[in-house]
Symmetry: C2
Subunit: 465 residues, 2 copies
């Protein structure tokens, strides 16, 4: 790898004006229209916006403006805005909406979007929405809700375009052109055997570009993945990303085709999983969002801080063993946080790489030992470098070569331990079925704090006192 | 938000056996085939695997096995494996490949994949690959390389399916069916005006389901986004994710259609950006991967550790001001890391939420003040809770109510400062054009360390001594 590649990427035109619909001026005009209750103006301003942008806007307003905007916007409120909203805000908005507007909004949605909406609602709101649906829609939604949460069954669309495996291109095209109710968005025709088991898929572009007499099963996509209805959505997203899938058929326990998942749904899941990983690594509840209340936010963050308090007290107990040494040589108290802090940072580096590699399935049994060895050697090399630096700092600052030597030795020990703990703890947690993103941080910093203080103060007692 | 929602998500069948192609048994069989140089067996084992899985396998092997596998696999080596490989490993593999095999592998690739391949190679390897391409391909690749790195121009495919805006469905279908060279994968027909400016797009499914006399411009997709060729790829990925795009036309400065970007490319960029954010937050070079060497890894991690050393020394300088106090009351040395550590963790929580919200564009001028206020109040509430806990711990441990009061007060101060710094520093860095994911961590922990030690030791001097 060349050194240039590790530089920060230049970001061409990252701040281009027209890249996002929601500029501050538009937001200000919308808030003004709400302030003066100018309904025509509000509709005119919101009309050109994508539902996703309107949802973002609603999230960014304070609760009072939000309520006024929704009331003023009235019947124009689109069901798609609801599906784009953050869960917390969504409940609030559903509470504000006029029941008739809500009914119209929900009736316009595809059944998989209604499922997505209902999943996160409290029971009374859920009932209210189910009631406004037409019978067939309600039954489809209720059936989807029987699949486990976070499963492919919840993610899939039920509308599927399929064809018998023995058809040719002409038959498929005639069939499609004579269908009344094709889904709005579909990209493949799924080939099925007589028992409705999917056996391949043909891209629409390929279908269009082939002669009528060509057999469908001779122009199927090279890579074909079938997803069991109970598969975890994170694994579905992984498959889409790994194999560059655009859509994939979903089958039940008897291998019968029951639905199809498209890449946009998979992309949304991937984004959520990444978000979860980042927030879990930082000890923030993964459901957190900017629009959460103070109470919700405080509650989400408290548990991790409580865990951290326990580990910090553990580290303090180590220090307490050396109170006499510190009383004799206060330089120890001055320098000891440096050793712990460096270990904590090095540990976090290893840990983050390990957690990511586990999430992307790059870290497996076959390379784990090699990666552990690498982390330990990296800890040793960086440890030696910083030992030298801190040894000199210790010498110059406190005029004691021995003190410099002690901090240098402690630094090497702690950085090696940091590498080992940073890679080893996530691997062990994964083996135990615990999400490494959630729990590794606390364990790793406990190890580096305890080892850091113990190594530094312990060596100091042996060498200096 | 209900409490249940903050629990860890149950993961149905996360460990299902057939979810991934690369199980340890398959890997072991492949390594064995390489060990005994059984070429037929190796080809038989690798044949059913997707190139992405073969690439993962190659990354997981050690350098020696990797070389042997590639030599044994020989002419079967597919170009798609190259595009799936990590950059670091890719250079190594290209160096191992027989030049004739490399030439065949590269010639099979689409031009945008060749561009992706060349971007990361050193000059001699780049030249070697350009040389084996046919003239038209080489020209297409060289032209793509004239667009800035990380721009839409690098990401797009040049093969575009377009139709004049005034055509009807019948004309479009006849045109498509008579084309010889349709791209393998395309999902929309892009409508253009006489100057080749894109004015809309028609989904293939919609085209198939509409009568022949229907005008194309009456069945265009509701949401239509045109991407300038120079737009930053991160912004492109954001648009795909925000607006659920499947494909989008790319235009040059004169608004002429020059290419198309599809969702799978956008998904790959989104994944890279997320990876970068996570690794930058942890102070790991964003180009890092599990297959990097010890030297590359050490180099990537050193700078952040060096920054951390500076901040740790800064914090130590604060402690050094209070050496007398510590000599008189060593309990201060025991307790002071707790205050700093809690502040650091609370700061990291706020910081992570802020960095993510900036990346997803949920944190804007219109809600920044509200979010800052929320973080400060959360800091105050959690600060008060932990102040109470630590006050009691301090009292019980050291039998001094005053010491308990001092650590309690310092805790409140530091957690409020942590909330403020955690949210404020990323916002300021973003305003200054610095990636907040890259630099915020160091600043925030410096603030919480310095404030933590200063508040605790300073109050101790005033109250206790």
């Amino acid at each position: 790898m060349s050194e240039e590649q590790t530089d920060i990427a230049p970001e061409p035109e990252a701040a281009e004006d027209d890249a996002y619909a929601l500029d501050p001026k538009t937001i200000a005009s919308i808030v003004y229209a709400v302030d003066v209750s100018d309904r025509d103006k509000l509709v005119e301003l919101l009309d050109p916006l994508h539902p996703a942008d309107i949802a973002d806007l609603i999230e960014q307003l304070n609760a009072f403006d939000r309520m006024r905007l929704i009331r003023l916007y009235g019947a124009e409120f689109d069901g798609d805005i609801l599906t784009e909203l953050d869960e917390g805000i969504r409940e609030e908005v559903i509470g504000i909406l006029n029941p008739k507007v809500l009914a119209d909004a929900v009736r316009d949605l595809d059944s998989d979007d209604v499922v997505d909406l209902l999943e996160d609602l409290e029971e009374p709101q859920k009932e209210a929405i189910l009631e406004v649906l037409d019978d067939p829609d309600r039954i489809a939604v209720q059936q989807s809700l029987t699949y486990p949460e976070y499963s492919a069954g919840r993610l899939m669309q039920r509308e599927v375009v399929m064809a018998p495996e023995h058809w040719n291109v002409g038959e498929a095209i005639d069939f499609l052109r004579n269908s009344d109710d094709l889904p709005d968005q579909f990209y493949h025709v799924i080939l099925v055997d007589p028992r409705l088991k999917p056996v391949g898929k043909v891209a629409l572009g390929k279908l269009m570009g082939s002669r009528r007499e060509v057999l469908l099963n001779s122009i199927t996509d090279e890579s074909f993945h079938v997803i069991p209805v109970s598969r975890y959505e994170g694994d579905v997203a992984y498959a889409f990303n790994q194999y560059h899938l655009i859509s994939a058929p979903v089958v039940d326990e008897t291998e019968r085709l029951v639905g199809v998942i498209t890449i946009d749904d998979a992309m949304a899941v991937l984004e959520e999983e990444n978000e979860e990983d980042i927030l879990r690594l930082a000890g923030v509840g993964e459901e957190s969002s900017l629009s959460d209340s103070v109470i919700a936010t405080t509650r989400q963050r408290f548990p991790w801080l409580a865990v951290n308090l326990v580990t910090a007290v553990l580290a303090s107990l180590v220090i307490a063993q050396f109170e006499n040494a510190i009383a004799q040589l206060t330089a120890l108290a001055v320098l000891m946080p440096i050793v712990a802090s460096m270990g904590g940072n090095a540990g976090t580096q290893s840990l983050t790489v390990a957690v990511r590699a586990l999430a992307t399935r790059d870290l497996t049994g076959s390379n784990a030992l090699r990666v552990i060895r690498r982390e330990v050697v990296v800890g040793l090399v960086n440890g030696a470098a910083f030992a030298l630096i801190m040894g000199i700092v210790g010498l110059l600052w406190f005029g004691s070569a021995q003190l410099g030597g002690v901090i240098a030795a402690a630094m090497v020990i702690n950085l090696v331990v940091a590498g080992l703990a940073g890679i080893g703890i996530p691997i062990v947690l994964e083996k135990l079925g615990v999400d490494p993103a959630l729990a590794s941080g606390a364990f790793v910093t406990t190890v580096t704090d305890v080892v850091g203080f113990f190594a530094f103060l312990g060596l100091a007692v042996i060498v200096l006192l």
